[in-house]
Structure formats: C-alpha cells, structure tokens
C-alpha cells in the first residue's frame, strides 16, 4: 500500500463535508459572522512526548486530547482538526490502522471530524502534528490576560498524577495504574471549559506544571498570584509521598487540568458548575497587585527553582 491507499482506506472515513473527502488541495469552511474560529497546534514527537511503545490508538487519543485541552482553556467548542503524520516505512502497517481506530473513537466522544493533513515517511521516529479548530461566540474566548486584582484562582481535578504515571510508566503495580492511565490518555476538560466561558476571566490548561502555567496567567494579567500550597489538590497514591506528589503538581507536565481566575462573587457559581460536570474544583490562591514577583507562596516561603520541562 502506498500513501494514497492508506489515506483512502483509513483517513478518508474520518472526514466529513469540510474535508471534502480529502479529494482537494485544501479544506473549505463556511464562515459564520457571529463566531470566532479558535485555532491551536500541538506536536507529539516519538522519544520526546511519547515512548513509542504505547498502543497506536492511545497515541492517537493523546495527540487529539492535548489539542482538545487547548480548546477547553479558550472556552471553545471543538469542531474539527487536521493531522500531519510522519512515520518510518517499517511502522506504517501496524501503526496507521490502529492510530486511526483511536482517532475514530475519540472523534465520537468529542464530536469531531478530520478535515485534512499530510502523510509522509520519516527517516527515524514518528512525528504527529494536529491543528485543532474550535468556535466561540464572537469575542468570548478566554485569554490568559484577563485576571483582575482580587480575583480567586481555581484549578480543576487533581495535579501531579500524570508525572507520577510517566516516571513509573513501565512498572506493573495496581496503585500506579490510575497515574499511568492519566499520563497515557489525558482527560481534556472540554465541557468544563464551555461552562466557564462566561465565568472565568483568564484561563490556561496545565501542560507544563502548575508553577509555569500559573506564572503565564500572572505575567499576562500583569498581577501577582498568591498560591496556597496547602490547598493544591494532590491525589493519594499508595507508596508515593505527599512531597513527591506536590513536586509533581508544581513542576510535572501533562495534567491538562484547567487553571482559571474569576471574580470573588462567582465562587458559588463555580461550586454549582463543579457539581454539574462532576469535576472537583479547588480554590488555590488569589490575584494581587504586582510588586516584585509574579508568584508568591502564601506562607511567604521562597518559590522553589523552576524545574519544569524545557525542550532546549
């Protein structure tokens, strides 16, 4: 099978009207005057973002979900995506059918369609780039820069689980399986993001650890975040110390929880939304005027040195 055969057999069934059956040089999207189109791209590289030993269907889901998480953090409804897959020839036969199976399953869960992309060979490792498209009413997407002095800072779910899963990925242990699963297939907070659209005034998804992503909100809003270390929601995992979990929460990546600010008046509404989507939401700090630091711990201790993952 050559690339056209693979495209026809495995990728074409994932498309709808916008992708024009992958028959043309481009996809065609009819615009709507009352909407903004929200566009984001994430790349996953074998050996950097995933091991390569994962099942291709799981790699597909992770690739889609890290992108879906960006739609969630903008408060946008995901619509469709395109995909570039570069893959060594000897991996094609097994990888592509299973990868597309994973895409299909997640397309159904998140109501998505494929609109196009590129399929090429690669001299060594697999490289996956997805550009995802979502929509909001005009002017209602949530930036990183809208927090106001006095706002509360909230976070969804628990933090640090994914990093524990990554560090113990090849261990067989029942009490680690929930962490391994969270690392393998994250849960983007799409429904929560949509409900926060008129509530949160700044938002980000935590992909690089709480410290780094909270700093993005503080810097872009020009404020200081007072972070309450004691309130950071960490999971309980047998044989893993709370200190290690807290370090994972602060500096580990791949949590894909939503971190957001809103006016103090909205606290009751946040509780209601939390119940509605059945996702824990925790108040972990508040915004203050910037003086000398973008991030302070409430007990006034120093913020540990940034240990978040850097590519270069």
């Amino acid at each position: 099978m050559n690339e056209f055969d693979y495209i026809n057999k495995y990728f074409k069934p994932l498309t709808g009207n916008i992708g024009r059956n992958l028959k043309d040089d481009a996809a065609v999207f009819k615009q709507n005057a009352n909407k903004d189109l929200i566009i984001s791209t994430d790349t996953l590289v074998e050996g950097v973002h995933f091991f390569g030993t994962e099942h291709p269907a799981d790699i597909a889901k992770k690739s889609l979900r890290v992108n879906l998480s960006d739609m969630a953090s903008m408060g946008a409804k995901p619509l469709f995506y395109n995909l570039s897959l570069s893959i060594p020839k000897n991996k094609v036969d097994f990888f592509i059918p299973n990868f597309c199976k994973g895409l299909k399953e997640d397309q159904e869960i998140f109501n998505l369609e494929l609109i196009g992309g590129d399929l090429t060979s690669s001299p060594s490792h697999i490289n996956i780039t997805i550009t995802i498209f979502g929509q909001t009413r005009t002017g209602t997407s949530i930036s990183r820069s809208g927090a106001k002095n006095g706002d509360f800072l909230f976070v969804s779910g628990v933090l640090g689980l994914s990093k524990i899963g990554l560090d113990n990925f090849n261990k067989t242990s029942n009490h680690l399986s929930i962490a391994q699963k969270k690392y393998l297939i994250p849960q983007p907070r799409v429904s929560l993001g949509l409900l926060l659209n008129n509530v949160a005034n700044s938002m980000i998804d935590i992909s690089d650890g709480l410290i780094q992503d909270a700093t993005h909100l503080a810097v872009n809003s020009g404020l200081c975040i007072h972070l309450d270390l004691d309130k950071i929601p960490i999971p309980h995992i047998q044989n893993v110390t709370n200190n290690l979990l807290l370090e994972s929460a602060l500096y580990g990546g791949d949590d894909y929880e939503l971190l957001f600010s809103c006016n103090q008046d909205q606290e009751q509404l946040i509780k209601k939304i939390s119940k509605e989507v059945n996702i824990k939401i925790t108040k972990i700090g508040n915004f203050d005027i910037y003086e000398d630091k973008f991030l302070k711990f409430k007990n006034n201790s120093e913020i540990p040195k940034n240990k978040s993952y850097l590519h270069f």
Copy 2:
C-alpha cells in the same frame, strides 16, 4: 535560550492580531459571513523533502511556498499560517534565527502573518509542518472535480525543471542553476490562482508530476484527459536531453505550477490572464468522456508506468 526565549525573540515578531502575540493557548479569527476559510497542511521532513544542507532561510521559504501553492490551486487569497517545528537541540542556535529570517522575507512578499504553532525538540531530524489559511468568497473555491466534457486543459510555466534541479543539486554548473533554484525555492502561482477563480472549473498544483496530478483531475471529474505530449512546456537546459526533461515533467515533483480546466470559450481570456501575470500558460490537452482510462496520450501510445514519488 529555552523554547520560550526562542519563541519570544524570533517567532513573536512574525505574528499579528490573530496570533494574539502567541500569549494564549490558541489563535482567534473573527469570521466573515461572506467568505469561506480555505485550510491546507504540508509537512517537510529533513532527509525526505529536503537535504538539510540548504540554508535555513531557503528551507523556510520552501515550507511556506509549497503551502501557498495549495492556496493558489484553490483560487484562494492566503491570509495567515501556523507552524510546528521539531528540531534537534544542537541545530537550534543556527537554524531558528535564519529560518525565521526566511519566513519574514516571504511574509512580506505574500502578505502573510504567523498565528501560532509549536516548537519542540526532536531526537534526530528536522520536521516542519505548516497549516496555511486562505479565503475565497463563499462557494467560489476551485475543486479538482469541476471539469466538464470538452473542456481544455492548461498548465502554467514550464514543467520538469525542479526534478532536474533536485537530481543535480550538488553540482556546480551555470546552466543547472536555474533548475537548482526552482527546486530550492519554488514560485507558487498565487496571483494567477486568484485570477483563475472565476475562470477555471477544476484546478490542482503539480507537486507530484504531471501524470499523477492530471489523473487526480480526471478521476475526480469522472472524465478522461487526452494529453498532448508534444505541447507539454519543458525548459531548454544545456546538456540535458529533451527526453529527460519530458520524463521529469511527467513524473518529477516540486514544479508547483497550476494545472486547470476551463470551458473552450475561455481560451482568449486565459491568454489575457497569461499576459497580465506575465506567466506562460499552455494548452496541453482536453477532457473527454471516460471509457476505459482516465489518461490517454493524443498519439494513442501507452502512458508509461507511473514512476512518481511515493512515500510508502
């Protein structure tokens, strides 16, 4: 410098309003009810699509231009693009500043802006994925499927030059330099594509050789193309035989000329458009009812076996 430093120093200056200074998780594009958004993706892999010894600014231009060519073939006006760059750590210092210089130069020529993307490390080779966005009036983009029985088939420019450039890329020879340059930095026919928007009824850009791309038009339009071999525009290159040039035209890739159909009545208009953009346009065949083959040579000889590049 880490990836945030590179993004701030080199990529942020390439952005405008839509990319929100790369500060948010996604770009935001305000839709227009009278327009279609046209979306296409092309990936260039080091060792597959380029050698890696080219100057990074030239690699940047090629990456943008192969994408621009897809906008041209849809009859769309290019607007903006996003970029995913995966690159080995030891190449970052030299590659990124020069790559961004090339992007900037072409952004000015083609009136484009960067709206976002992803920058990651790579264990070995460079992988570049660009998604490009263009616009047409609603419902006016040009598909591959609109040719009608009796239509003429036209092609812009000359064919085969790029393949000769590729095959002789490392030779130092004056008479090969035009071919090498065409391979290195293609010339997407954006202005021509826009002028053909109300004229051509099917169009494709020739990236995989004339035979393969003409077949796409024929198959998708459900017709047979009678191709006049004697009319195919090939360049004159000293010391390169016409036979080799014709073979390059038929099966070589990377020409990025426009191949399109239109009603016979439009032939005079095509000549006028050709003069306006100062690009040679040649009638090389016509469309007929499909009987047993999608492609026939006018002298009834057999079409040579497909030798176009395949990734798998």
